[in-house]
Symmetry: C2
Subunit: 420 residues, 2 copies
């Protein structure tokens, strides 16, 4: 097999460690110069491929590429852009392959979640149908941890570490204030459909550092009366209580609480999240003074508190993707396989993309405690290893130092343009 170029793109919501996967891809490709020529990145994800806006990663120094290991978010830009099915939008797939052909791209590495796995699979199928030789490998990534088959998803472990640490710290704060002031603290976290991040908040409370804590999962319909009773009992017993709530909390009709029609002073809808809503409900019904926080992007961008395990796994899936590709494996994803909880051991195995694409892995019911407001021992055994180890970025003058790449564009070869 001759030497061909590679294309790499970042897709969907970014994470604290997606650049570590990019680093794994680029560094490993540089070790396979007999098989992989240039590594081009899509500027703003797949849009870069469609518009022939390619970045030549070869123009970046080894040092800059190494610095991706400790830099959050997507160094080449990401996008929220889902390709339709082949039959519905064949032109887009043909355009992709036109661009790939023009730049002799023989390897397609797509770094994303469920949708991206699907796109990667379709690109692979389309290439086969059109007799274009292409090896397509999906590189898993999502803070939501909802990809099938893989034991966990790079990006999640760092969010888990962040939300658990933040809740533990806030709990110490509330405990200090509870005598005369704040008694309830509500933290809203990401994970609209799956409660993995909400579950990770539960790690704040453990045998060494017990914390009165209630979790509101997207998988459990919100029962106002039951929740308020539980909360009031916690406050009575401990003097305070913490609440971790998923942005995707729903009522028993399946309706998102956050979309229940909030309006601000300007008359705009969609003002607050479910966190402040739960907090004010508590104040209204029980009278407890509250504080609330919505971490939003802070939780998924917090490279300063990344999990070393997560960083290692993000790099490993990037590296494995290239190793699979040069061995000729296509339409696969390197998955993380857990071989043991104690001690935590993991390895990478390739899984066929059709087992991953479009499948959403929700939090299993037995990861949630019987009462629906906490995590089980099983969840704890699963979650804890993913948060372990610290991988602090370098700091200068008090602040973390993150790299910005030069992102030099590759000269266009096609005469046609493409509108997104």
């Amino acid at each position: 097999m001759s030497r061909r170029n590679a294309f790499y793109a970042q897709s969907g919501g970014v994470t604290a460690v997606i650049n570590a996967s990019a680093c794994g891809v680029i560094q490993t490709a540089r070790q396979h110069k007999d098989r992989i020529g240039r590594v081009y990145a899509g500027r703003n994800g797949i849009i870069g491929a469609l518009t022939e806006d390619l970045i030549d990663t070869g123009r970046e120094s080894s040092r800059a590429i190494a610095a991706l290991m400790h830099t959050p978010a997507g160094a080449f830009g990401s996008c929220r852009y889902k390709l339709a099915g082949i039959d519905r939008d064949r032109a887009q797939y043909e355009r992709l392959l036109d661009v790939f052909r023009a730049h002799d791209i023989g390897y397609f590495f797509y770094n994303g979640g469920n949708d991206s796995a699907d796109t990667c699979l379709k690109v692979s199928q389309m290439a086969a149908r059109l007799d274009y030789p292409l090896i397509a490998v999906h590189v898993p990534k999502t803070v939501d941890n909802d990809l099938a088959v893989t034991d966990c998803c790079p990006g999640f472990g760092s969010v888990a570490k962040y939300v658990a640490t933040s809740m533990r710290e806030a709990a110490f704060d509330v405990a200090s204030m509870a005598k005369t002031s704040t008694r309830v603290f509500v933290l809203e976290v990401m994970g609209r459909n799956a409660g993995w991040i909400t579950a990770a908040v539960g790690l704040a409370d453990d045998a060494g550092t017990p914390i009165p804590l209630l979790l509101l999962f997207p998988e459990i319909a919100f029962d106002e009366a039951k929740f308020l009773t539980r909360l009031d009992a916690k406050v009575a017993q401990f003097g305070y209580c913490c609440v971790g709530v998923s942005e995707g909390l729903r009522d028993d009709q399946g309706k998102l609480l956050a979309e229940a029609g909030t309006r601000d002073a300007f008359g705009h809808a969609q003002l607050g999240g479910v966190g402040p809503m739960i907090a004010s409900l508590i104040k209204e019904k029980l009278g407890h003074k509250y504080h609330w926080a919505v971490a939003d992007y802070l939780q998924r961008a917090a490279r300063h508190l990344a999990s070393k395990t997560d960083v290692d796994q993000a790099y490993a899936v990037g590296r494995a993707a290239v190793e699979l590709a040069v061995r000729g494996k296509s339409a696969v994803m390197p998955a993380i396989v857990r071989s043991s909880d104690k001690p935590y051991r993991w390895k990478i195995e390739a899984v066929p993309l059709d087992q991953v694409a479009n499948v959403e892995k929700k939090l299993p019911r037995d990861y949630i405690s019987a009462d629906g407001y906490g995590i089980s021992a099983k969840a704890r055994a699963y979650l804890s290893p993913l948060t372990r180890g610290e991988a602090f970025p370098p700091f200068r003058d008090g602040l973390p130092q993150y790299v910005r790449l030069k992102n030099v564009a590759v000269a266009k070869k096609l005469k046609t343009s493409f509108s997104i």
Copy 2:
């Protein structure tokens, strides 16, 4: 002078490093056993003194006391409880002195902000009036950084480091997403009356890591049209923009925007903060997709990202308070004096409490850029050193390990009780 006991209490909103001050007080007192007998802490601040609910810190191991250096929030509990003037509520002061007399307390260390400095001064005056020999020293603390005379306040440097780091990380995230999704990120920070924390957000953007950023200070009346024009220009130029907004942002009538009458789906007021309000205003008027975060307690409890400078200063003011006390200085506060910006050098000097009590130090106008939306070079030179150095806590199994003290109560000696 004979050996007498000491009382120490934490007051008001807690910080990531107030326990480092407690550590400084207790460890230093233990080095002056000829002068200081036991160190009692007030359970929940001054309330512990009023209700004779004292904690014997002598029951804590040296190791536990040392662990206060890396533990956020108030280890003995704090309170929001302001003593009235001596003439208005003489009984409270007399009660305090009754408790002190019963437990032979000759040293009063009060760890707090403006109000606490005032209380400390009044306790000192009352003791003198009643011929009760008492040395009263205020230990400065406040994330708001608004205490007079001292160059900075322990607690602030760590919040500054947290908000600047968080904004930098979120900016990398938004930059990745801006092509097809989020273009504006709004972070609401603390500091209701003084814009010190808002200014610290400005450190996220520096020569090495430029970020399109607008700051909304509590000192500058919000001008909607001007702000939206500025923001839109940033988005046009950079593709995205970040906004740091003080919870205390006011309109030109001096009215808090956050209190402009927000209502949630339950019909409750006080749902959202000003952060989500600004975000939805941007969406409404300019159409940019936004994300917002409200860090709330996370910012002041984030011991995992504390500034080493801040931790050192918090310890130093605690230690200096005891050293001043054993030298017979009363009605004073150890202040941080900056002797140089580059290299940053500081020392501790005692200042009379009447220069500190009830004075609020706002952000000077020349710390804000001419256009009102950024920080000046002067602000940068002031702020940056306060965030420098890392002082990570110990981690186990992925999470920071914070100490909880035994907080053993001292046997009561008074026959009378006191209601708060």
